[in-house]
Every structure is written in structure tokens, then in C-alpha cells.
Amino acid sequence: MSQRTITINGRTVPAAEGSTILEAATQAGQKIPTLCHHPDLPPLGACRVCLVEVEGERNLQPACSFPTREGMVVWTHSAKVRKARRTVVELLLSDHPSDCTACARNRNCELQTLAEELGIREVRVRVEPRGYEVDDSSLSVVRDPDKCILCRRCLQTCSEIQGVSGLRIRGRGYDSLVGSAFDTPLGSALCVNCGQCINRCPTGALTERSAIAEVWEALEDPELFTVVQTAPAVRIALGEALGMPPGQIVTGRLTTALRLLGFDRVFDTDFAADLTIMEEGYELIQRVTEGGVLPQLTSCSPGWIKFIEHFYPELLPNLSTCKSPQQMFGAVAKTYFAEVAGVDPAKMRVVSIMPCTAKKFEAARPEMRASGFQDVDYVLTTRELAQMIKEKGVDFMVLEESEYDDPLGESTGAAVIFGVTGGVMEAALRTAYEVITGEKLDNVEIHAVRGMEGVREASVKVGDLDLRAAVAHGLANAARLLDRVVAGEGGYHFIEIMACPGGCLGGGGQPIPTSPEIRQARADAIYQADQEMPIRRSHENPSIQALYERFLGKPLSERSHHLLHTQYTPRSRRAVQVQDDKSGRQTGA
């Protein structure tokens, strides 16, 4: 790429052709404050916080979207710029609620940080916040429009990354309001509950629907037996919310912390991920060998499930009937484990720690009651767990490491990679290959399906079969792939879709902020965790083998079908389906 030279604050620096001032400045180590800009989103120039002085231009220009040109002279922090920037932020603050101490994003708010960095000690114009009602109708996402600064990141996320376009801005000027079309409450609006908007919201306008209070109550009720499961992507991201850099594997501290919170058993969703591979792998083998509907689509990601129900209902027969690992876990915990441990399932509360907000909705689906009870009672995001750890006074940094409990705690490397895009595919192939061919894979690492490309394809030789696989993450990417499937192209056998960029590790319940670099660090940690596991194939997990021997029989058995498989609901794009009964417990959708 050809280079050009520009001058920033009197210093001559290189700038790539087609780069913006912000990109060139960042490259040169010059920080320019931003607010609506996000590394995952195209530049928008909505907030005007990144205004800079460009010699020869009449007005200040937004660095995030203004292109560089040869010889341009830029001042990023001149008196004129600082004054304008301060005014912009003061105006944003003028009707923003100022009770930061009672906000979920306290100390992790970009507006708060910006005000601090600009040294704002006085807001010259103060008006009352608009007094909009908080929308807590969704089981996953809560909207507080008073805290919205109209940066439009959530809109862009919903349309560009997720292809849902459920959010819009209506009205104009002071009356502008972000929300669902026609102000439909989120709980009944076109929304897949993925929470990607939360991850990119600079303020506390979008947060998860918290289950912290209910979980404390369950933990402190001596009558109840509390069981917790932790999703693969939690162990490589939780540290970020507790002061560690991205990419740290904290599995051993996570289990200790959960015991300190008071859980009676600390189990692993990874166990259920191995179980999913058994069921889903055998389902794939059955579809391929007995002429079932192909390609088979994975069904682990509840944001993806709601997406296909809304946008591609004609492809529902392609969707694996397997429940997600979270739900398989719940069903097994309240049946098999309850029996083994002699615990009354009515007195058992299953709590999930998930990187995901859509899991909250999934747990409340009416079909997720195979045990005779709601299989998973409460879902906490990684962020909520971090909050509880802090609240309990647990010093995470110096915590001793511990192991998961038996019999639902043992897992393999194949399970931990469920947390990264391509991981379910790779885990399934590790098992399917060996089951179909009867041979052992020389190398379990199937690099062809790894990576961060939005849509990836691979052909894997499985015995006589050239298995055509495809992987997509981010629902806009998924839509591109599905359009090909609908058109009858690709000839795929198996497709993995994860709703969130990077897979679960980039989920809507993960620590904020997110960026391609942060997600890559988390992915590297997941693959490292896989390498460190003594067993790396799901079908070799002894606890899974025991579960089949003692309880389920074999994969796709009648009992498996009853407990571990499900069906789906076609939905309109004008959905009005979900109602919340407003009780504390997350119940029927």
C-alpha cells in the first residue's frame, strides 16, 4: 500500500493511503478521544468528540472519518479543539443522568472516562434527563434510554454485525430516541437477545437483565441445593472483569470463587459440550448415512436459534435437534445427577455462568423443562459473576486453584473449544471421524476450520466421504452463508453458526470492552486450554461414557431424545411472542 506523509501536532508521520486521520494518529501513537467510534464498526462521525483542526479546512473535522491526504497538517489538541471537544462532551452530559455510582457501568463507562480525561469539573448546561421509562421487558437486554447518548453503535451493531436491524432511531434532534421499531418493548420486538449492542454501548443505556439478586437468594436459602455450570468461554474472559489482561485462563480460580460464593456443586458446561458432541455427531452421521436433511446446522447458540426462527424458518428442518450444552446440562443435572446424589430436583437450583445474554431467554423457553422442572433456573453473564465475586469480597488475584466436582465436571479439549468460532465443528469432526472410520486421528487439531474470517469453508476427508463443512460467526455473516444454502449452493454437510463475532468468547455477556485484538487473545487462550487437556476427544470422556452406560444407553436413544433434544418455533419478523411474567424467576417465553 502506498504511503503518504502528514503532519500531526508538528510531527511528520506516515499515513497509509485511504486511512483516516484517526488511524494515522493512532499508528503514530497520538491519542484522539472518541466516543461513537468502535473498532468493530465503520466510522460514523456522529458524536463529534474526535474533532481535530485540519489546516485549510474551514471547520473542525471528525478524525474518525476524515481521510488523510498528502501533506495535510493536523492539530489534535489545540486550544480551539480542546474547547470544542469540551463543549461537545458537556452537551452530552447536560441531560445525562449523573448518578454514576448507581449505574451498572460505573468505572467502565466511556462517557465517564472521557469526562475525566477532559478534566470536566463543571457542566455549564444542566437539564433534567428526559425521564424515559426503562424497558426491562426482555429476558436478556435492558434499555435505559435516559442514559443513551445517541452514538448509534447499537444500531450499527444490530444491522452491520448481526443483520437483524431490530434497532432504529426515530424522531430528530432533542427528540431522537433509539429503540425497537414502533417503540415495541424489546421483549416482544425483533431481537435475538445476543447482547452485542450491550458490548458496544459506551454507557449504561444497554445492560443485561440481571439475575444476581435471585441467585444470592437461592445461595442463601438453606433448603435449596445449588448447582452451577460454567461455559467454556467464561474461563478465558472472567479475568478481564477482575483486573487481568485479556487471554488469561482462570479455570482453577473460577471454580474456587464459585465455591466461596456458596454453590453446593461446581460443574462444567464443558461436560455437557462433550455430551452435545456425542448426540450431534451421531445425528450428523445418521443424516449423512441415512439420507436426512442436509446440511445439518449446529444449535448451540441461542442468539442464532432465534435468528433462524425469525429470518430463515424454512431452514428449521436443517437445524440439529440437539439442545445447547447449557440445556443438556440442566436436564441431566435435575435427572441423572439428582438421582446419583439423592437430591430432590424440586429443591435443586441450576445456575449457569454464560458469556451470553441469549442464554437467559433460552433457559426460559417453555420446551426447556424436560426434567419436569425448569432445567436451568438462572443464567448469569460473565460480567454478573465478576460483580458477585467482588460483592462477596473474594480477592480473585490471589485465589488458590481447584478442580470441578464429579460427576458433571469432567471434560475434554474438544469441549473447551466450543467457546470459539469453528470449535463445535472441530470437536464434532474429532469424534465423527473416529466413529465413522474407526481410525484414530493423528492430529486432533483441524486448522482448516479455525480463524476469524466471517465465513470459512473446508473439505475434510472422512473415510470415503469428502465432508463439506462451513463455519460462520456474526449473524450477518451467517445470513450470507444461509442465502447460499437456500439457493442450493455449496453442497455442505455440516455448518456451524455462532451468533457472536469470534463465537461465544465474543458473547454479549462477556467483559466490556471488546475488539478484534481482545477476541483474538481469548481465542488463543481457548486453544491453549484445549492443548493443556489430557483428553481432547469428547467420546473419550470417561464421565460421558459413564453417563451413557448408567443412564442414557446410547447416543440418540429414547431417553436422549426426551432429555437432550428439542424442537423450534417459526417466528415472524414482526414478532410479538415473548411475554415476561415479571416474577423474579425467569420463566416461560
Partner: protein, 161 residues
């Protein structure tokens, strides 16, 4: 679909919208023209109509709503037979425009942006009509009333049925 039950009227409305979309071109870029024509036809753009247009143009309903709510020309509620616009620009405002508006609102029994119960009048405000020398000013349909006094509102509006 405009309505679940599919009344005859709904089918007719859908056919009318279809014809407009066909004529303007079923592209997202034709949206504003389509909205103008549909509003001309139906008098207003309720949610169901916006959703129908969004589906036909294969675009998010929120985008259509965003456009409709951005431009004051579009209305989502039925309009009266006559549209009153009271100027609230600076000159009109300081010369009694506010009291004129209050009198109009009182006479019609509906607020700004709304329509009177008998569907006779819709009340709007405008920010300037470019005739500040004649302030305060108001218009009813295409008729212009200059130096309006609040006491004359009943007389003026009495001419419209």
C-alpha cells in the same frame, strides 16, 4: 399484511400500496417517494402500512419508521379535513403567536400534531413562513391569515367545515 383478518378494505389498501410501489420502483431508494404517494392516497401512514412497505421493499421496519418520524410532512395519525399551521417563529412568537396557538388548540380541542375529534382540523406549528412583517401569522390549508388576534380564531375557523 395490513391486518390479520384481511378485510376487503385491507385488501384494497394493499393493492393500492402495491400499485404505488410498482410505479415508483420496489427499491429502498424509492422509499420517500413511495411514502409520499401512499400518504397522499391514504391520508396517513399507520404502523401496519409502514411494516407492509418495509416488507415489500425488503428493508427493516425501523428504517421506514425512522424516515417517517424524521420528516414532519409524514403523519402516522389520520389528518383533519383542514390543516391549520400556526407560526411560532421568533417574530410571530413575540407578537402573540403563542396566544394564537393557545386559542386554536382550545377551539379544536386537540393538541399540536393532533386532529380534532370531528376530523375537521389538524393543528400544526411551523417555525417561520417567511412573512414576519405580517406576524403573527397562520395558515388554514392554502389560505393565509395575517396579524391574527386570538379573539378572531372562532370566526376564521368557522369558515371551514
Amino acid at each position: 399484511m395490513v391486518a390479520q383478518g384481511k378485510c376487503t378494505e385491507c385488501t384494497q389498501i394493499e393493492a393500492a400500496i402495491d400499485a404505488i410501489i410498482e410505479q415508483k420502483g420496489p427499491e429502498p431508494t424509492s422509499l420517500i417517494e413511495i411514502l409520499h404517494a401512499v400518504q397522499q392516497e391514504l391520508g396517513f401512514l399507520p404502523q401496519s402500512v409502514q411494516e407492509y412497505i418495509a416488507e415489500k421493499l425488503n428493508m427493516p421496519a425501523g428504517t421506514v419508521e425512522g424516515v417517517v418520524s424524521f420528516y414532519t410532512f409524514f403523519t402516522t395519525v389520520p389528518r383533519g379535513r383542514h390543516v391549520i399551521k400556526v407560526c411560532q417563529g421568533t417574530a410571530c412568537y413575540v407578537r402573540g403567536g403563542k396566544r394564537v396557538l393557545e386559542a386554536v388548540v382550545k377551539h379544536c380541542g386537540c393538541g399540536v400534531g393532533q386532529t380534532s375529534e370531528d376530523r375537521r382540523f389538524s393543528v400544526d406549528i411551523v417555525r417561520c413562513l417567511g412573512a414576519c412583517g405580517l406576524s403573527p401569522i397562520m395558515t388554514v390549508d392554502d389560505d393565509i391569515y395575517e396579524r391574527v388576534k386570538p379573539t378572531k380564531i372562532a370566526d376564521i375557523l368557522g369558515k371551514y367545515d
